[in-house]
């Protein structure tokens, strides 16, 4: 069989990419890019204003001294870096596709390895071109629309409906196959989607670290553990009872149990889920989450829940990270205490992903072998998806601090030693903090502080935070002009939320907090790689979802998702109402 299809499509895709690179480098499309890269462009205008002021000052100074105007170059902004990245990627891929495109047109293919692997390239180019459009075009456009509509709606629809490259990618893939069909020249390359998705899942392990678990309260670990494992078990049980395929049941259990979309994507190759099963699961989770986002805050207010209680409930009962944040902010828009608690519970849930992936791998292998008695060890050795071990290995390496300092979460880590001189607090900020320290040491201030710490249940690990902790942390911050330890950071963060704290002091604490947290360059890079691999893989997966296949999947997943989601939401509400107030 000859796989290579003679077509000029690959050459055209290569030329389009080279043209995009050229337009970006020349600055001809800066107007469009300033809209698409809106936040980077804000940085660009700041850098430009600063540069112009410096240039004017230097020119005026040179003129006063009778010298020639100095030559200065504007430093590169985030906008310049983002454009450069697009140009570099488009250039490399464009040149490669043009070369292979010309070769394909000139060459007479014969069956064999060369034909097989050359025929994969047009399909990769086809998906990559769509991925460029999704990540550089549609994703930021929906992001901008979401922000623009926020004042009118009161919430960001793009965030809440998850209209990011993950969902857009799948939808575009579905449209491509159902409306336009996959062209014959791209058919072989589209089959690489799952491979790139698996690579992305392995790299996902680099983003998490086991040390982060140590920072979480025991209650969140126990509560999330029970509900995550309970939901996974319940979906597996119901799926068996209702006769849904094992792959569908398993992928739905990951989505309903752990953290929505990313868990679904991570578990899908483990259980060999079909593309339409992934789409069904993601759809069920998102629809369920949107409903919860509106219902949870109302119930929270009706039951007079406190911020800790509501945060714990939302972080446990809602499946998607953006929807958890949305519900927490809808419940309490002014105070971030609810959001912080919800995020702690959310992070705990995400950290259960490696355990669930292993469980599902073993469950799937066992159940796919049929009713006959099998030696589980032998079957596991023969069928266990090896890439899951890669994910676990990356998670272990990440926890050991190979990719970023141990204890990081998604690349963010605390380090006092790495704070640069220009990030230290300015004298005005230190004076504001000193003023606040003196006030809190006074009779009235100390009484208010003590009352706040007791009523808000501010804790540090297992013990309650005392007024002395606050005085020591503030004194250290004023003396060193930076936060020295993670504990002090935690104490100061709690203090900043107290009513009556001076605005300048609050801002100084926030500045010191931001300066103490750093983002690992390598993790930032991994995130970028993962985003591209997922975008590519999901567009390719979307291309395998036909209308006929969706009809065949039936409505059982929606029923199971709805039942398990309701049980989880009600169960976690009962646990929160009974125990959370006393434990946190």
């Amino acid at each position: 069989m000859v796989y290579t299809v003679k077509s000029s499509a690959l050459l055209i895709i290569g030329i389009i990419m080279l043209a995009w690179a050229g337009l970006n480098s020349s600055g001809a499309i800066d107007g469009i890019q300033s809209y698409l890269l809106a936040s980077d462009y804000k940085d660009h205008t700041k850098v430009m204003k600063k540069y112009e002021a410096q240039l004017k000052e230097a020119t005026d100074k040179a003129a006063a001294e009778g010298k020639a105007a100095p030559e200065m170059k504007m430093p590169a902004s985030k906008f310049d870096h983002a454009k450069a990245t697009q140009s570099t990627m488009s250039n490399y891929f464009g040149a490669f596709f043009v070369l292979i495109g010309l070769f394909t047109l000139a060459w007479k293919p014969k069956p064999g390895n060369l034909d097989y692997f050359v025929s994969v390239v047009p399909g990769i180019a086809y998906i990559l071109l769509i991925a460029f459009i999704v990540r550089w075009g549609l994703d930021p456009i929906f992001g901008n629309w979401g922000k623009a509509a926020e004042p009118a709606l009161g919430w960001n629809f793009a965030k809440i409906f998850n209209l990011n490259y993950v969902v857009i990618g799948i939808v575009i893939g579905i449209i491509a196959v159902n409306v336009f069909r996959i062209p014959a020249w791209a058919a072989n390359g589209v089959r690489t989607a799952r491979f790139f998705l698996k690579t992305g899942v392995i790299l996902l392990g680099t983003l998490y670290s086991a040390a982060e678990l140590a920072q979480l309260g025991a209650l969140s670990v126990v509560m999330i553990g029970i509900f995550v494992l309970g939901s996974v078990w319940m979906v597996l049980f119901m799926g068996k009872r209702m006769g849904t395929p094992n792959s569908m049941t398993a992928v739905l259990s990951a989505g309903m149990g752990v953290c929505g979309v990313s868990a679904t994507v991570a578990a899908s190759p483990v259980v060999q889920a079909k593309a339409e099963e992934i789409a069904y699961t993601i759809g069920t989770i998102l629809i369920w989450g949107v409903g919860c986002m509106f219902v949870f805050p109302t119930i929270g207010h009706l039951l007079h829940m406190g911020p800790v209680q509501f945060g714990a409930w939302a972080g446990t009962g809602i499946l998607n990270s953006a929807q958890v944040a949305g519900a927490a902010l809808a419940f309490d828009p002014r105070n971030i205490e609810t959001l912080k608690v919800a995020e702690i519970f959310n992070i705990t849930r995400v950290l259960f992903l490696p355990i669930i992936v292993l469980w599902l791998a073993a469950w799937y292998v066992k159940h796919e072998e049929g009713a006959q008695k099998v030696n589980l060890t032998q079957v596991l050795v023969a069928k266990f998806p090896v890439f899951v071990l890669g994910f676990i290995a990356m998670f272990a390496l990440s926890s050991m601090g190979v990719f970023a300092p141990a204890g990081h979460y998604k690349g963010k880590y605390f380090s006092s030693a790495e704070i640069k001189e220009d990030k230290l607090l300015k004298s005005g900020e230190a004076s504001a903090l000193q003023g606040e320290l003196d006030r809190l040491r006074g009779a009235e201030g100390s009484q208010a502080l003590s009352k706040y710490l007791t009523e808000s249940h501010v804790t540090l690990g297992k013990r309650n935070v005392t007024s002395d902790d606050v005085y020591t942390s503030l004194t250290e911050l004023v003396a060193n002009r930076k936060i020295m330890t993670r504990e002090e950071d935690s104490v100061l963060e709690s203090l900043a939320k107290m009513d009556g704290i001076d605005k300048a002091a609050k801002e100084a604490i926030s500045t010191a907090h931001d300066a103490a947290y750093h983002t690992s360059k390598s993790i930032k890079s991994y995130r970028n790689w993962i985003a591209w691999l997922f975008a590519f893989g999901l567009i390719g997966l979307g291309m395998q979802i036909t209308g006929k296949a969706l009809k065949q999947a039936g409505g059982a997943p929606l029923v199971i998702g709805g039942v398990v989601g309701t049980v989880k939401a009600v169960g976690s509400l009962v646990v929160v109402m009974l125990f959370v107030k006393e434990f946190i």
């Binding site: 890669g390 990719f403 890079s525």
Partner: protein, 40 residues
């Protein structure tokens, strides 16, 4: 897509087996991970 017939791999993969796809993905991921680590 699903109607396409291939005499190598499956309708979902260009690799002859899942194990081979997994191992290739594993090697590729480690190349990326350590490549990024040593160049950043």
């Amino acid at each position: 897509m699903a109607e396409q017939k291939f005499d190598r791999g499956t309708s979902l993969s260009i690799f002859v087996s899942d194990r081979r796809e997994d191992i290739t993905a594993l090697i590729f991921a480690f190349i990326i991970a350590f490549g990024v680590l040593f160049t950043s």
